[in-house]
């Protein structure tokens, strides 16, 4: 449906916003572009929309190359972060404007706008102007303006970031329902990884103008390709411990800052390429850390002694912040775990949930 091949964006001849991105978005798919601010996700979306010139590479929508096609002829609709509603037009007119420009019959325009207004619960405000609406209603009008056009692709540029937390969750569900109902391809940009995880069929994680990984939410979470993705997806973030791999009786990971020693799958041998010692980073998610006397931990050998700096009780779980030497660690423990601030506890890591990253390239070992 939408195909990006080596798509590149350079501003002012030397600022590279997007380094040769490759992406294929299938018909009806909901793809989320996520990354920290300045990672190039918005530039990428704007190139797809035709609002930003493509420096090099190919962009196709359907089977047609659209690099030089005007935005209005790309058969896309876009929802902007600030909604970009025309302040001098009524809600009805805002939604009808694009259709009028396409010279649709008046009746057809009325029908489409009414349909959209019905779906979005805007029937009562059609004659109002944007400034008389609440944030959530404006957001809906912006979505309505996109859906009346019945485009092949919807583009969303951080559409929920101006809403308060509660409304954001509600609109998230509404957009998902809309997608289910209309089945239109959606490309959605956000910096919020929770939004990305909950909405996307697939997620494109970007950083510094490069695509780091394209995967389903589950794969992204459980099998991150590199340290950036591992650290970006998930909250609280994954713990990282620097250390080295050593060959001996099998391959062992030795933490630089504590006594922690972990047995590593033999497959890691391939990465050592004959070396005896290799600097690596161990990644472990907070929920894969347990008190070492917990029944889950039977037979696990990886233990680390930690002084607890802070305990946050969430009700259903607790988040424990601790340190061992200069290493900071976050663990999510069962709510009944008997730990408190300033305790010294022994924790263990779930062996099959550990990730190892090359210390230099930060790419994962699989």
């Amino acid at each position: 449906m939408v195909r990006l091949e080596g798509l590149r964006k350079v501003y002012d001849e030397d600022v590279v916003a997007v380094h040769g991105a490759d992406l294929f978005v299938d018909e009806g798919e909901f793809v989320v572009l996520v990354g920290p601010s300045g990672c190039g996700k918005s530039s990428m979306l704007r190139m797809i929309a035709g609002l930003e010139e493509i420096t090099s590479g190919t962009l196709s929508i359907g089977d047609k190359k659209v690099n030089d096609v005007l935005p209005k002829d790309r058969d896309i609709a876009m929802v902007f972060q600030d909604y970009a509603l025309y302040p001098h037009m009524t809600v009805y007119k805002n939604m009808a404007f694009g259709l009028e420009l396409r010279k649709l019959p008046k009746k057809e325009i009325r029908r489409r706008v009414d349909d959209a207004a019905e779906i979005l619960g805007l029937m009562d405000v059609l004659e109002r102007r944007p400034k008389e609406l609440s944030g959530g209603q404006r957001q809906r009008v912006a979505v309505g303006r996109a859906i009346v056009r019945d485009p092949r692709v919807f583009l969303f540029d951080e559409p929920l970031s101006n809403l308060d937390a509660k409304l954001r969750v509600q609109m998230r569900t509404e957009i998902l329902n809309l997608h289910r109902r209309l089945g239109t391809t959606i490309i959605y940009v956000t910096h919020d990884q929770i939004e990305a995880m909950t909405m996307g069929d697939r997620i494109v994680v970007m950083n510094e103008g490069k695509i780091e990984q394209i995967d389903t939410p589950y794969e992204l979470y459980s099998q991150p390709n590199n340290r950036f993705v591992a650290g970006f997806i998930g909250s609280p973030a994954m713990n990282f411990l620097s250390g080295e791999l050593r060959t001996g009786r099998g391959i062992m990971f030795k933490h630089a800052d504590s006594d922690l020693t972990v047995r590593v799958p033999d497959a890691a041998q391939n990465y050592m390429s004959g070396r005896d010692v290799m600097p690596v980073i161990l990644g472990i998610r907070p929920e894969d850390i347990f008190l070492s006397d917990s029944p889950y931990m039977e037979g696990q050998t990886s233990e680390i002694t930690l002084r607890i700096d802070l305990v946050e009780h969430m009700g259903n779980e607790m988040t424990v912040y601790g340190s061992s030497g200069t290493t900071q660690l976050v663990a999510r423990l069962a709510p009944d775990a008997r730990v408190k601030q300033d305790d010294t506890v022994t924790l263990a890591f779930l062996q099959n949930k550990m990730h190892f990253f090359d210390a230099e390239s930060e790419v994962v070992f699989r």
């Binding site: 929309a49 935005p71 876009m78 970009a84 694009g98 303006r145």
Partner: protein
Amino acid sequence: MKKITAYTALVVGALIFAYPFVWMLSASFKPEYEIGDMSLMASKWTFASYQLVFDTIPIFSAFLNSIIVSLAVTGAVLFFGSLAAYSLSKLKWRGRDTVFNLILFTMMVPFMVLLIPLYTLVVKFGWTDSLVGLIVPFMMNATALLILRQSFLTIPTSLLEAARIDGCSEWRILRQIVWPLSIPALITAGIIVLTANWNQALWPIMVIRDEALMTMPQMVLLFTVGGGAQARLGPQLAAGILLALPIVVIYLIFQRQFISSMASTGLKG
């Protein structure tokens, strides 16, 4: 107490500003021999001064010429000015800032410097003794462009992008999005240009010789200092009132937008 002081000061200021105009208005209706004193009242009111103006000069044709010229100039300035302002504020192109700075620079050049070259040009084009010679040289104006550009800059770019995706051409964006959202700035620029153009006397005196093509300021100027008024003050004041009246009326109509726009652009008139 503070308020009273402030209001007193304002009232005194307003009186100082308003008195000459009110006096001029009342004097234009006084008999000639009573104009000498500074009072606002007269022993009897008369139209004699106006009568003399209407009898001696073709003031109606001058009025019409002035209307044609000022409206044409104002319309052209707003049209071309907003095209340029749109390009200078919302489109990206190489050398844009340089061009804008050049335009700003032209604001620093006094009109007197341009007078001779402009006149030479108008003569070359054969536009002397025609309204075209009064209109064309003033169809673009840096002040108006600056006001419009500042106003256009406040329109969020995403609005224009949404319009582009909706299917607008740049020209239609200007017409259907930018203009409706810039009405105060258009009015401000319009009034400034209209006033300046309406009051212009020097240029018409150079370009127009034919009485039938003269504009109000030129006509009034020639009437008051050129002997038409027979050195009588009343008719001179009456002609002055007739000259100022349309601008006052326009200002009163658009006062609110004008002031709000002046306040928001932070520009002086």
